[in-house]
């Protein structure tokens, strides 16, 4: 796999992890009502 592609993939994964963390903190409780 080209280095650039691997780098981009890792960046995307870390972004997704951040998004998931944020959802866990702020978005999760919104589904309770």
């Amino acid at each position: 796999m080209p280095l650039l592609l691997e780098n981009l993939l890792l960046l995307l994964i870390t972004f997704a992890i951040g998004l998931a963390l944020g959802w866990f903190v702020w978005g999760r409780n919104k589904e309770e009502y």
């Binding site: 890792l10 960046l11 995307l12 972004f15 951040g18 944020g22 589904e31 009502y33």
Partner: protein
């Protein structure tokens, strides 16, 4: 891969932060709008119903600045009101409203409101009504948009008593207005004002 991570760890950290900030912007921003509206309503209610608890706080903030400028004897007591006054000021405005909702338990039975006539609608289309509220509303005999759309102040107060922790949602989330659009099947009008269904 590990060498790639160690070489660009800062880049990944930034990507992680961007992810968190995006999530905050998407989910927490809506909450802040809602709570801001909620605070506005409670402040408004307090001003209407009991102006006395709010008024004593205002002189405190007005009195606070002069002692800071004035001579030494009055300087020591000044920092305390300055530090204490702003902190409790916003809290009591919200706090009195919360215990009211929680102290009064939802009464048993059904609210005295006009019954729904016809096929039940999907109340979850109303923004702010989730699965829990939907079940609660159905158990209270609220099943149709036109039923909600015709509610007046009396019905809102009556139903609100039964909403328990969701008390205040009818006005805060503008159920009546939303239900008016949905009862008329005016999806375009609804989406224009409240976003995609």
């Amino acid at each position: 891969m590990i060498t790639l991570i160690t070489a660009n760890w800062l880049l990944y950290l930034i990507a992680l932060l961007i992810g968190v900030v995006t999530a905050f912007w998407v989910w927490a921003a809506n909450d802040r709008e809602a709570s801001a509206r909620d605070n506005f309503i409670t402040e408004d209610d307090l001003l209407k119903n009991a102006g006395e608890p709010v008024q004593p706080e205002e002189p405190k903030t007005e009195q606070a600045p002069p002692p800071v400028v004035k001579p030494e004897p009055k300087a020591p007591p000044a920092p305390a009101p300055v530090a204490v006054a702003p902190a409790p000021a916003p809290k009591p405005r919200v706090k009195p409203a919360a215990p009211k909702k929680e102290d009064v338990p939802a009464p048993a039975g059904k609210p005295a409101i006009p019954a729904a006539v016809g096929e039940p609608d999907n109340l979850r289309l109303i923004k702010g009504v989730g699965p829990k509220l939907n079940t609660l509303l159905i158990s209270l005999g609220v099943t149709r948009f036109d039923q909600i759309a015709n509610w007046k102040e009396a019905e809102i107060t009556e139903v609100d008593k039964y909403l328990d922790t969701f008390s205040g949602r009818i006005t805060r989330d503008a159920w009546i207005d939303q239900a008016k659009f949905l009862a008329k099947d005016d999806i375009a009008g609804f989406e224009k004002k409240y976003g995609k269904l």
